[in-house]
Structure formats: C-alpha cells, structure tokens
C-alpha cells in the first residue's frame, strides 16, 4: 500500500499536523510503511466479535 506525498501533505494541512517536506516524508516512510502493512494484514481478520471485557461481562449475565 502506498500513500502519495500530496495526500500526506493534505492531511497535515487539513488536520493541523506537523509540516513535513518531501525529503522528510521520505524519512518517515519506513515507519509509515510498517503501519500500512499491519493494517493491510488485518483485512484478513474478523474483528467484529471482539469486545471489551465490560461488554463480555454483560453477555455473561452481569449487571449492565
């Protein structure tokens, strides 16, 4: 997965982020790449049934 510099710069601009030049975006890329790979990997995992422990207790018959 890849995200263009233009998209990243638009995110920074629209969400009041920390400005990064093209060279700096290259420097952060290895970190961003790991993030994107992890998210891509999660596409194969069904997370819809994962709840917090509080919800699990409710399902088990505890007080809501």
């Amino acid at each position: 997965m890849a995200i263009s510099h233009e998209t990243l710069k638009a995110m920074i601009r629209d969400y009041q982020g920390f400005a990064l030049s093209d060279d700096e975006l290259e420097l952060i890329w290895p970190e961003l790449d790991i993030y994107l790979q992890a998210i891509e990997k999660l596409q194969e995992l069904d997370l819809s049934a994962v709840f917090s422990s509080r919800l699990l207790r409710v399902q088990e018959g505890g007080q809501a």
Binding site: L27, E31, Y35, A38, K41
Partner: protein, 476 residues
C-alpha cells in the same frame, strides 16, 4: 575488602553486612562514585553523577544504622535512576535537549520508595533520547557503551542502567520499559531485567510515552536482587490510577523452592522466528537446563501473534500526542531518529487505532488461555546479541532490518508483546556468543504472579553458564 570487590557483591550479599555494620554505607557509596568516575569516560552511562547528594544520603543512612535503625535490604545500597524518572531538585532530561533544564519539584513514587528504604542514589543514567529506541546511542549526551564490548550498544532505552549494573557501578538501577527497554539492556549487558505486571508499580513521576504499556522496572545482577527491588517499589498508589490494589506478595518466598512439576510453554509462533543462530542455541540449551531441573516442556500455539505488528499502531499515535507540545516549540532540538519516527504517528487514523486495540485484546486473551495450560512462557529475550554502535541494520533471514529510527523494531520483537499484554516478564543471562556478548532467556508469567516468575528464573540462574561472569571493565 577492596573497593571494587565490594561493588561486585549483590544486594542480598551486602545487606546483612551493612546491617551488622561490617560494611559502611559511606565506604560503599565512595566506592560506587569512584567506579562511576573511572568508567564514565568509557561507558557514558550517566547524564548526571550525584557526588554530593549521594555522599549526604550515605552519611544519613550510616547515622541511622548507628542509632540502631535499619530500613531493610536497600539500606545504604547505591543505585542508579534512569534519567526519565523524576528526582526532586535534580534535573531529569529524559535524554533530550528539549528537557535539558527540567528540574522536577517532586520525586517519582518509585524514587520516594527507594529513598525511604535507605537506598543511595548515585546518579541519573543515560538513555535513548526520550526513551524511544533500543540502542542508547543518544545524540545529545553521547552513546552508552556495552561493558562487555565497548564498541557495541548496551541495549535501550535504559542502556545506562544496564551498563552500570553490569559494570558494578551500581548495585541496581531503575529503568523503564515500553517495548523492552529494561529487558533489552538486561540481555545485552548480561544482567537481570524485570518488567513486572502492568499496574504493579506506580508510574507517577515517569514521563509516560504511552498510557498503554509503560513500566518502571529494576535491573540487577541476580534474580534475588530483582525480587528485593520489586518488594520495595511494588504497590498501589492512590494517586496513580493505573496501579491496582492487589496485595503485594512476598517475592522472596519461593526463591530456592524446587521447580519440578511446573510447566513451561515454548511458543511455536513468533518468538522463535528470525533468530540469530547463537541466540537460538543458547536459549534452547537454557530450556533443556530447565527440563533437567524438572520443569515440563510443552509447545504452545499463539496464532494471533501473526497480527502483532498492529500493536505498534497505538504506540505511534500515543507518541506523537505525548510529544505534541515539545514538537510545537522545540522541533529543532530533536535528534532525527526520534523526530521522524514520532512524526509518522500523526498519520494514524482513529479507526486503525481502535482496530489495534482489538488485536491487543485478542493477543491478551490468547496469552491468558495459554498461561492456564503452562506456568511460564520461555523465549529468547532479543533475537540478536548486542549490535555494534555503528551498525545501522541487523541482518536476519537474509533481510536487513533497521536498528533504530523510523522502521526499526526488530530488536524488541520478543519484548514488546508483553508491554501490550501487561504480563510480567524477566530476562536472565543464559550464555554468551563466541565473540563474548551476553544472551538472555525471557520468562513470561501470569498477571501478578511475579513470585512464580522469580522462582523459575532463580532456579535457572543457579545452573546458567553465564553465572559468575563479569566484564573486564569492572576491574580493569
């Protein structure tokens, strides 16, 4: 007894002699300060050495002994404190230029507890900038050097703490662990490093980078000393909501008890993948040694660990939020490794953060299930021995992985999961490479069962091929 000989003793060996007034806290502190001064040019392990304050504390503790007061096993013991843990009136830089002049008004809770127990604080220890990396090659305060091989890293981020304990400068040090930052210096420096259960020790006074996995933990030269240190720092802190009001066990109670019949789990997923061959051999030999002591070995499966990469996402976002006020005003004062690793976190989407929390939940549940079948998990602490300070990458399985900065993380692959699960984990020296670098065995236990973890670690320590070895810099 010669000064350096004194310093090689463990806390458990020193304490009864201090109590019996055979060893003076003043004499011991002077020896520690002399060792610190002698080795600082070679190790770079301190940011601040506290000559005057340590001498004053030592005199006070000696006077207390003379009055018949004894505050416990840490009475008169020289320790070090990582420089991201607050010390009242003493600058606490967090290894950064940004906070170079930061002087806290109050001690961190762990520092207060150690002082109340009679410990002498000899210095604030060097670390990775903002405790964010595994090398302790600090761009502002210099690289920390590994006492076993000075051109190698000591691990990080608590590198100064690991180096000081290994080089017998301090008898123990308090480090902090967000992804392995106590256990990695433990394994690279050949000492014992503990990250206890999340919530067992107060983090009040620590510059917390993530609300989800920071811990303060001890580095020591023996498992018994680790138990002694935890006994002092563990406990509920009503002013620190992450601590849990669970009674504190007697951590010495199970030391020396037989381990026959206990069960250890060797994960078939993640932890034994991508290992340096010498590390794998030493750890498998350690597991065989535990079997010889009567611990039953079972293979255990943790398939959710294939998604462990997602755990990093929460840390990325937490980090940029922690640094937000500093980045706004002092961006130019950051070193590039931490700066660009941190700034990547601003692109993490909230939906992905939430997914990562769900993955964390799954991994926690899976570890909890497995730890109903076995008493401890056994893994290598780090996949590699200490890399050279100059190394930018380590190669495993034919792939070069960055050691520090953006995209790094291979060194902490086996330690960081326990920060997400909150489970207690300890590293114990289990051997050396042919080149003479230490290797560590990691034991992971059930929540709040540190006493059991100490029991197994202590039993292994008595048969470890690493026992009794010290780096040459201790004497030379």
């Amino acid at each position: 007894m010669a000064a350096t000989e004194l310093l090689t003793l463990t806390i458990a060996e020193l304490a009864p002699q201090i109590r019996a007034r055979q060893i003076s806290p003043v004499e011991l502190t002077e020896a520690a300060l002399a060792q610190a001064e002698r080795l600082q040019p070679r190790l770079g392990s301190f940011i601040t050495i506290l000559h005057d304050a340590a001498r004053q504390q030592a005199r006070e503790q000696e006077a207390a002994l003379m009055r018949g007061e004894y505050h416990g096993p840490l009475h008169g013991i020289p320790i070090g404190i990582k420089d991201n843990i607050a010390t009242a009136g003493i600058r606490t830089t967090v290894g950064s230029k940004v906070l170079a002049q930061h002087v806290p008004a109050e001690d961190a809770e762990v520092v207060r507890r150690c002082k109340a127990a009679g410990a002498i604080i000899v210095g604030k220890e060097n670390l990775e900038e903002f405790a964010a990396g595994p090398t302790s090659n600090n761009p502002h305060y210099g690289a920390v050097h590994n006492p076993w091989q000075l051109d190698c890293v000591p691990g990080g981020s608590s590198g100064g703490s690991g180096a000081n304990v290994a080089a017998c400068v301090t008898c123990a040090s308090l480090g902090t662990d967000l992804g392995g930052s106590v256990r990695l210096p433990g394994t690279f420096c050949g000492v014992v490093g503990l990250k206890q259960t999340f919530g067992r020790v107060s983090q009040r006074g620590l510059l917390v980078t993530s609300f989800n996995g920071d811990h303060i933990g001890p580095l020591t030269r023996s498992v018994r000393d680790s138990a002694l240190m935890l006994q002092v720092i563990a406990g509920y802190d009503p002013l620190e909501p992450s601590t849990v009001p669970v009674p504190v066990d007697d951590y010495m109670a199970r030391l020396g008890q037989a381990v026959r019949g206990l069960k250890m789990g060797m994960p078939t997923d993640h932890y034994f993948e991508l290992l340096d061959p010498e590390v794998e051999t030493a750890v498998r030999q350690a597991i065989a040694a535990l079997e010889a002591l009567g611990v039953e070995l079972r293979e255990v499966s943790l398939p959710m660990m294939q998604y462990v990469g997602a755990l990093r996402i929460t840390g990325m976002a937490d980090s940029v939020i922690t640094h937000e006020p500093y980045l706004a005003e002092h961006r130019q004062d950051y070193g590039p490794d931490v700066l660009y690793r941190t700034l990547a976190g601003q692109f993490v989407l909230a939906r992905d953060y939430s997914k990562a929390m769900k993955v964390q939940r799954l991994i926690k549940e899976e570890h909890a299930r497995v730890l109903q079948e076995v008493d401890v998990l056994v893994t290598p602490t780090a996949p590699v021995p200490a890399p050279p300070i100059a190394a930018k990458t380590v190669t495993l399985g034919g792939t070069a992985y960055p050691v520090r900065g953006p995209g790094s993380g291979i060194i902490s692959k086996n330690t960081s999961p326990s920060n997400a699960t909150g489970l207690p984990a300890i590293t114990v020296p289990c051997g050396f490479t042919v080149a003479g670098l230490p290797i560590g065995l990691q034991l992971i236990g059930r929540p709040f069962e540190e006493a059991l973890l100490f029991q197994v670690a202590h039993a292994y320590e008595t048969v470890s091929p690493a026992r009794g070895r010290r780096p040459e810099v201790v004497q030379g």
